[in-house]
Amino acid sequence: MTVFFAVLRRDMLLAWRSRSDLLVALSFFVIVASLFPFGIGADPAQLKAIGPGVVWVASLLASLLALPRLFSQDFESGVLEQLQLSSDPPVVWVTAKIAAHWLCTSLPLVIVAPLLGLMYGLDASATQVLTASLLVGTPIVSLIGAIGAALTLGLRGAGSLLALLVFPLFVPVLVFGAGAADAYESGMAIKAYFLLLGGGLLAALALAPWACAAALRISLE
């Protein structure tokens, strides 16, 4: 476990030292979500209806902003090679990198999300449901996104290719994530949405690090 915590600590320290990058992603999230009312008008009922979806899509876009950097810096500097030669299996440090990425880029979005819920006129409990769905859903986004980041590592135009690759995979997360808050608003049961999101998270946790490690091995050859 030395490797896991070493990578986690280092990546979080690096995120702190380059915290302006994180602020950019966070501001991007807030700005994208605030643009919609200007585009479609300030009808409270309409805003309330689209609120959860807009916040979810904005969070996907904001997490995509930081994804290409997940491995590229360490790839260029040769750190990934050294990690590949660790006597621990690659899955260990890949999981640590994804965890650090989620803690530093997605968790702040989840924390800010209630403010945006307020802006869209969601009531307190609907905002709670939205935040909870983001809390369970964004780790799936980080895990799936990491596979895309590993596959496009070192390619020309990696950023846009990454978006094409992973956005279709985010659709189920978006459907159930935004759907939970919508269902709550219309008075339906939300348990099923969270069970599906939770199941998705467990499946992604079990599979994505392995897929990611395999993709990195190919990219490093």
């Binding site: 490797v3 990578v7 280092r10 360490d74 500097s77 040769g78 621990d88 299996p89």
Partner: protein
Amino acid sequence: MLDVQRLACVRGDRALFRHLEFCLPAGHLLRVTGRNGSGKTSLLRILCGLSQPDAGTVLWHGQVIAEQRDVFHGRLLYLGHSPALNDLLTPVENLRFACQASGDDFTHGDCIDSLKHIGLDRELELPCKVLSQGQRRRVALARVFLAAHRPLWLLDEPFTALDKHAIGELASTLDAHCARNGSVVITTHQEVAFAARQESLSMEAFAA
């Protein structure tokens, strides 16, 4: 210890080398020479298991390295072309992370000692982005002082960008490693005198 059999490497549609064979016993230093682009770095990456050869096998103590990955990586120190440093971390943080990443846990103090040993003294608290090429190189090379327990060292152009004093210091460290029955493979263009039993491998002899 390290036994290489009929190795071949193809990059793109160009064959770099073929039928490459050597055996490196404990306590020996192998010096790989060859012009630019002759496949020295590719050979080293195959030896440490980062790349797969297109033909042939690499054996460590008689067993294929891919079949004993975890054990082999625990016995290996590989320092590649790039120094594997992060610009935002200090030399001590970088060195300590490099050790932890490979599975060793050395203290902050151990890392400072080995950085001082290789001649970095006043730069310990600066971020690596302000260091010169030679200083960055030294930070990466400081790992050799913390790798005595790893018998096999594979170093890609370790003498590049170093001054005379540092070259002498590094050469004597490599000698000391061979003296305690370790083995060293280096690629280099420079003439450096070693006391250890030395073997040479010219890539031209195996060019395809």
